[in-house]
């Protein structure tokens, strides 16, 4: 089936089998391997992407369902070669060890901050409760998301 998906701002037209999962479309058809395939059973959240701005598990969505819609992957966080504040904060706060869960954590963190710019520990833990980190680095992941919120608020204040 011929579909057109906007991935990180660029339109991609591809011919896919309907049973192809979105995660495979992203990783294999489009070659964007920043999105990880972890459990493949809707538990771990390593495959998280944004579908029209909403975080979803791309192992539990068919590629054809993204036809005509916008997908944002971790690669889309980078703007003109500059790290997104969420990426910079994960680096600064050591919000990752092995990095496998990190793309999902950052995308979920970013959407949380859009709704709640200064989340509490509980707010962050609630938001990332569908994403599993097996290095048990949750402490620093929570800190990183909160730091990104602070940095974004500060830069918004200095611009206005």
């Amino acid at each position: 089936m011929q579909i057109t998906v906007t991935v990180n701002g660029a339109q991609k037209s591809v011919d896919v089998e309907p049973r192809l999962l979105l995660v495979h479309l992203i990783r294999e058809t489009l070659g964007l391997t920043g999105t990880h395939l972890g459990c493949d059973t809707t538990h771990c959240g390593a495959c998280t992407v944004l579908l029209d701005g909403v975080p979803v598990k791309s192992c539990t969505v068919f590629g054809v369902q993204a036809d005509g819609r916008e997908v944002t992957t971790v690669e889309g966080l980078l703007t003109a070669g500059a790290l997104d504040p969420i990426q910079a904060a994960f680096k600064e706060e050591h919000g990752l060890q092995c990095g496998f869960c990190t793309p999902g954590m950052m995308l979920v963190g970013k959407t949380l901050l859009e709704k709640n710019p200064s989340p509490s520990d509980d707010d962050v833990r609630w938001a990332i409760s569908g994403n599993i980190c097996r290095c048990t680095g949750y402490m620093n992941i929570v800190k990183a998301i909160q730091t990104a919120g602070r940095v974004m608020a500060e830069s918004a204040a200095s611009e206005s």
């Binding site: 089936m1 089998e17 309907p18 049973r19 192809l20 999962l21 493949d40 059973t41 809707t42 538990h43 959240g45 998280t48 909403v54 975080p55 979803v56 598990k57 539990t60 969505v61 068919f62 054809v64 369902q65 979920v108 609630w126 938001a127 409760s129 569908g130 994403n131």
Partner: protein, 287 residues
Amino acid sequence: MLPSRFEYHRPGSVEEALGMLGDLEDAKVLAGGQSLIPVLKLRFAAPAHLVDINRIPGLGDIAEADGALRIGALVRHNQVASSGTVRGGYPLLAAAAPQIADPLVRNLGSVGGSLAHADPAGDWGAVMLATGASVVLTSSRGERTMPVSEFLIDVFTTALEPDELLTEVRVPTPPPRSSGTYLKLERKVGDFATVAAAVQVEMSDGKIGRAGIALTGVGTKNIHAVDAEASLAGAEPSEAAFAEAGRLAAAAASPVADVRGSVEYKRHMVEVFVRRGLTTAAAAAVA
């Protein structure tokens, strides 16, 4: 994991979807997909056709009309959790929605899809039994409304005919001085419930007018604890009455032992949750 091959259909209207469901042999409706896609990937099911209803306009609304909350077929769990109407007047739904699966699954999974999937560990089945909700089933032949208690038949089995689409869930608006809650025991976020209990208490002149009690994860379908409900109708709210209702609900449960717990443990947790839920809801109803 790849599902078996299927033909993919994307109707733009309810009429078109109903035509497809009537014409196609061995078709399944794809709504949120958060139960169906895992089932397809594990090849527990391999339908020849998938009818994706996600692009049909008008199925994604929550609205109150004629004494009921109308939940469209494509309303997502998170939409229920964040709805002001739900939070204002439907405390049992408001309590249950944020406990379903995890935040990302709640962004896609739908109330209607969850009911139609009829997993005995599904949360909405118990919630809808306790609220006395109905489902609207639509086909090219017409429309019928059925109480959820008749709709849920057995594990993964409902009264839905192959040519029918569950288009709406209708939850009766609770009278004033009502409340409800949903207590769920899970090993971790996103796991199936070890045990969960949905309760609703409707007070009338200081007594219990109606109580709704239903259970998750302790039978081959969500269990409607009708004996426990009957024991409370017209009763004074009291510790003893709630304890007795808890015992009756535990007797109605038929859990199986698995990695989540023994039969005795699960039955005991039903008793605790029903008693605790009723106590909380009765207090909130008159607060």
